[in-house]
């Protein structure tokens, strides 16, 4: 089973590239006309193509269509919404919530990733020095990542509760003041970022750890012979050799974190007073969070978010391609 893991890991990075230039086809092609082979190939692929068209392309198309029309609750059900071009985008961009939502999205994403990545890196290096129980403990670190987000978010919400939360109890025990983590505008964003960092650490740990495993041990032994200390080994060997994996970890982290909605919505609903609103929660708020849904601007915000995610997505794909070429 270890083979499986290596196999899938080794070639998973190739999934994009290698699928296009597969190894020579089996001998079958010689005996039958190529058209049959193509027919079979597309036969196996057809369900996926249909699936992607119906369950990906169509919802996304509907989303674009929503954002270009002025849908009301009534026209949403009955049809006949007026075409308004980019009016929804204009009104979204000029909305007083847009600036803060964009800023919060950026802060949430960047701060989360800085901490997730550096803590994940530290833990990966630590767990890489095989000691007793290291494998078991590393496995336990996966727990936050595997829990349903609503479980983590509600647990954190209760831990950060102003009056009865354990966090404030400890702060007060140490002589500090009660902090209104979730109910004061200056702390709400920090609170959701803390919870999100906690959730994201395992992902960074696992990927960076497997990156560490691919660094040949002789390098460290050679460095040890040359009298390098742990700090030098990290900055001269680990860090440079881990750079490609780090780039991919960070970009994947960016893409995942931009999408985060559940944690914020469950802990603060983007509040108080929009102080923890991001593009994702704002979009949801307009479409599903009110008694009077406003689908068209919600879809417009969603599409802006897609564009941002895709920019990092393309960077990620480019980084991965480059890593494949180099190795």
């Amino acid at each position: 089973m270890a083979t499986t893991e290596t196999l899938s890991r080794r070639s998973a990075g190739n999934a994009g590239g290698e699928a296009s230039t597969p190894p020579p086809a089996p001998t079958r092609r010689k005996r039958r006309r190529p058209s049959t082979g193509q027919l079979a190939a597309w036969g196996f692929l057809a369900p996926l193509i249909v699936y992607l068209l119906v369950f990906y392309a169509y919802p996304l198309y509907r989303n674009i269509e929503l954002s270009l029309h002025d849908y009301t609750v009534r026209s949403f059900v009955q049809g006949g919404a007026a075409f308004v071009g980019f009016d929804n985008y204009v009104s979204v961009f000029t909305d007083p919530t847009f600036g803060p939502a964009l800023l919060h999205t950026a802060l949430f994403t960047v701060i989360s990733i800085i901490f997730q990545f550096s803590i994940g890196m530290g833990l990966a290096v630590f767990f890489h020095q095989h000691f007793k129980l290291s494998a078991t403990l590393r496995a336990l670190f996966l727990v936050p990542w595997l829990l349903p987000l609503i479980v983590s978010a509600s647990t954190w919400a209760w831990m950060l509760n102003s009056e009865s939360g354990i966090v404030n109890s400890v702060i007060e025990g140490l002589g500090g003041q009660q902090v209104n983590w979730l109910t004061s505008p200056q702390w709400a964003l920090t609170s959701v970022i803390i919870a999100n960092i906690w959730i994201g650490i395992p992902f960074n740990l696992v990927i960076l750890y497997s990156g560490l495993q691919n660094i040949p041990n002789d390098l460290y032994e050679a460095a040890a012979l040359d009298g390098a200390n742990g700090w030098q080994k990290f900055w001269r060997i680990t860090f440079p050799l881990l750079r490609p994996v780090s780039a991919i970890t960070i970009l994947l982290g960016l893409i995942y974190t931009l999408k985060v909605f559940d944690i914020i919505w469950i802990m603060t609903r983007g509040g108080p007073a929009d102080s923890s609103t991001t593009l994702a929660t704002w979009s949801y708020q307009m479409a599903f969070g009110t008694a009077l849904p406003d689908f068209s601007p919600a879809a417009a915000v969603g599409n802006v978010l897609i564009i941002i995610a895709l920019i990092f997505g393309f960077l990620y794909i480019a980084a991965q391609r480059r890593q494949e070429k180099n190795s």
């Binding site: 998973a12 190939a41 936050p144 595997l146 609503i150 696992v206």
Partner: protein, 272 residues
């Protein structure tokens, strides 16, 4: 390395893990706390005097939600496997002409935020009357897992030696037969990985459930918890007990299938 040095590292490791898992411990602790002690300041650090009222509440109120989550989870796994395994076989071994962009599209598909998919699905489901149905939820949840499944399967199946397939062909097996009797059995571990993740994601989904199934008769456990919180419920022991129960699949996964989890997390991100 001396034994003493390792012992020292193990201690640090245990402490770090304890800090990391504190919220999980706290969830369990609160789930066992008496309602009367819930607002105590400082709170009880240990459940010395545990109550099972919270779990009793789960059993009496949340069982239908748990059942729905199981159905949605298994449905999502089935749909994901049926769509992704054959497609991956084709991409990895059959060279469909013009199939190159598919893998690229799948990578992109994974980047689309769930909130946005939810809105598109909502508009469509509303028009075709599929809102608030378990089927709709299964379809929507599968969109999280299908791209992942295809990419993981493709990666694995590319590693299957062509000789093996040729042997099957020489024995007279058609492509379907080869797929069923050679490729699928060899891919068993990948099937486990994809199934586990598909199940876990469907089980944990909140975005699709809260948008596409908000008024449904059958609702998943994530909505069960959400409603508990939303009702301004002060019975945090019940909420946390439900959360503990909702975490069981994750725990089971970790205990019985940790290596598959690691394989899934690193898939697509790391190349040797």
């Amino acid at each position: 390395m001396t034994a003493r040095k390792t012992w020292w590292k193990t201690t640090i490791g245990v402490v770090l893990t304890a800090v990391m898992l504190f919220p999980v411990y706290w969830m369990i602790n609160v789930s066992l706390t008496k309602t009367g002690d819930m607002r105590k300041d400082p709170p009880n650090w240990f459940p010395f005097d545990p109550t099972f009222d919270g779990y009793r509440a789960v059993l009496s109120e949340q069982l239908p939600y748990l059942g729905t989550s199981l159905i949605v989870g298994f449905g999502t796994v089935a749909l994901t496997l049926v769509i992704s395994a054959p497609a991956a076989y084709s991409l990895a071994k059959l060279r469909p002409r013009g199939g190159t962009p598919v893998s690229f599209v799948l990578l992109i598909a994974q980047m689309i935020p769930g909130v946005i998919m939810a809105m598109g699905f909502y508009a469509i489901f509303l028009n075709i009357g599929m809102l608030n149905s378990v089927w709709g939820l299964i379809v929507a949840d599968s969109t999280i897992a299908v791209p992942f499944g295809v990419l993981l399967f493709t990666a694995f199946m590319q590693g299957i030696p062509n000789e093996l397939m040729n042997a099957a062909t020489i024995d007279g097996a058609g492509r379907w037969r080869t797929f069923r009797s050679v490729v699928l059995p060899i891919s068993r571990n990948s099937i486990v990985t994809v199934s586990l993740f598909a199940f876990l994601w469907a089980w944990s989904d909140f975005v699709f459930a809260s948008t596409l199934d908000a008024g449904g008769k059958l609702q998943p456990i994530t909505l069960g918890i959400y409603k508990y919180i939303g009702n301004n419920n002060q019975e945090w022991n019940s909420i946390m007990a439900t959360a503990v129960i909702a975490s069981i699949p994750a725990a089971v996964l970790l205990v019985i299938a940790q290596r598959y989890v690691a394989a899934g997390v690193t898939a697509g991100a790391v190349k040797d």
